[in-house]
Amino acid sequence: MRQWGNTTACLRARDAGLPAGVVAVTRPAKTSACIAPLPHCLIAPLTIVVVIVSACTSTPAGSIQIALAESASGAAVRVTGLSSAELSSLRRVGNNDDAWHALLRVTVSGADVPVAGRYVANGAALEFLPGFPLDPGREYSVQFDPSRLPDPRPAPIVTTTVRLAAAAHVPSTVVTTLYPSGDVWPENLLRFYIHFSAPMSRASAGGIVRLVDDTGQEVADALLELDVDLWNDDHTRYTVFFDPGRVKRGVRPNVELGRALQNGRRYAIVVDAAWKDAHGQPLKATYRHEFRAGPPVEAALNPRDWRLEPPAAGTRDPLVVTFPWPLDHGLLQRAVGVARSGGGPLDGAIHVDPGERRWSFVPQAPWQRGHYELVVLTLLEDPSGNKVGRPFEIEAFERQAETPDAERQVLGFQIK
């Protein structure tokens, strides 16, 4: 609800010829116009002149009025009071951008560059359709100069401001969890994920996510800042990499600085509340994930070391797989699955227990007696970057060359 004064004026969309859910009002000079979804009603001062923005078929020129109106592509700036002859000449004239801007200029208030968009003279009004939807809550300045019409009208320039009602947002987004979720992280950890309760902005973690040690001091140069978008599609998960040059033994940054995490010491990942969500609001609170650094994990993943607990035939009980150490939460969602021997993958639901050491699969259809396979893509990693058959730390190329480069491994199991 927006307040302009002590008198209420409310124009419903159906009264104004606007699409349902839209309210438009304006006033002639030093004005503001506002468009908002119903049932919110605008409160406006007595000076407001309500302009019926209907499909006007009257031909004579009237007083110029400017308001926001809804178009097929979102809110448009609509100029009414133009005669049929004036609108007709605008349709014929074929203005270039400069000529349009001289006639009808829409800018972000305070900026001197016109907003890009299209101009359409229809049967009732001249409309400016911005190239991108106007921002709710942002004020735009509009200037219409009748002397720049194809047949100049000797009338003063009309200026106004327009604004879409701002949705009320308050800080509400929180960090829901970090993966690895355990309280012991190997000192050679390469990657962790931050999950949020709602979509976040495009901003990266630089300066927002910090590693602090057990004295409360930030560990400098621990995390890698990349000029790369590391969000998932809906911006509810962000990937943070430790500087791989410090993680990997023998590489110069590692030699000079050592690993950021040292086995046995306590640390915390701190996510500052200043990180903005998709509505531009900061997080509701700063988040801390405390953990102890453990010994490095430098071995390749070997599915043959995993423990499988096959369920009974005729049930939809989960197949449970237990790993010797935590694996990557993100990759566990797609790099492990179940197939019927000789058949395709089964549909079902994957669940990863806290600690990322237990993976379970519930099939859509009950298990049948017979042979099944646990399918493991060799791109599966643990959070330290060790893959199936290929550790992150490789000392010599020969060893790498000897490693089978299969794309998947399978573990057979029997349902009885």
Binding site: V113, Y193, L224, P244, G245, A278, R334, F392, A401, E407
Partner: protein, 364 residues
Amino acid sequence: MRTSLKLTAVLALAVASASAPAAARLIGTSAGPAFTSIGPLAFAPDGTLFAADRQAASILALDLGSQASSGTAGTKDIPAVDQKIAAMLGTAPADITITDLAVHPQSKNSFVSVMRGQGPDAKPALLRIDGAGKIDLVAFDNMKFTSVTLPNPAAVNATGRGGRTSSVTDMALVNGRLVVAGLSNEEFASKLWSIAYPFTTTDRGASVEIFHGNHGGLETRAPVMAFVPYTVDNQPTILAGYTCTPLVKFPIASLKPGEKIVGTTIAEFGAGNSPLDLFLYKKDGKDFLLMSNSRHGVLKISTAPFGTAQAITAKVTTPTGGVPFESIASMAGVEQMDLLDAQRTIVIARGQDGVRNLTAIILP
């Protein structure tokens, strides 16, 4: 062989057929491209603009038509370019992200890709800045284009990518193939993917994974952040900048699936750093590489020793190692950079006041 291998960097290439690439999509001319996101950009010599769409996991080849040449030739400096672009897009500078800058090879106009807005609903925009300083929003309506879909992420079930996304870090047209470097937000893998251009429905592309060596060990799977093709000792080569921050050369001829090749780490530029952009230029008859970085600013590197440079193998006791380079202190805050013409580079640099300026700078 172990010893000799320790003396060189090693690149191993293998077809990543588990992540089968989708065939190219050839789109007619009746409708323009529908981006969901935009950037980075790269021009082909004929003016075709390659634009990556991260969200749609695709690369579009745009025929800019008259929008490539209808402005004044060249690029004029634009102070506070982020403010002006934001105003054109009807928003505030804090609500846009400039994702790349590329110079048209003929008109020398600068094209800037932008995401307008925050969050998953941000909208893509492409702007052209000409020699008169005019900024135009490039219209996609009816633009001719073709596109190709990046390889799908490998998954046991074809249930989509989950939370996995892949960002294109750089791309270039090399010997008739578009070579694309990328970085996933899940696997820590260095991917180069190449596909024949013009895109066809029959070439499904080849994905290769690169390993490079360092200090006697193998720094595996570091992402390639920027690369450029270059001829070293008459051998077509790719010079690739990685995170944290080796510069590696390897022969273009090795970009064949299933082969293992020997490459060379020829320079190191320091920890906590990531290359942003790099290009080659000529000055006083000599070739140089100009490389902007997230932490170490802009570096000028003579290519003269590239052919004879020894692979970095021993521990480097200085902050950097390998071929010599010069730090260009005057080019501070560079976030986007491309070669403008024979004498100048064009950069978008963030000043101490936080404002981003588009500025042409004489090549160092």
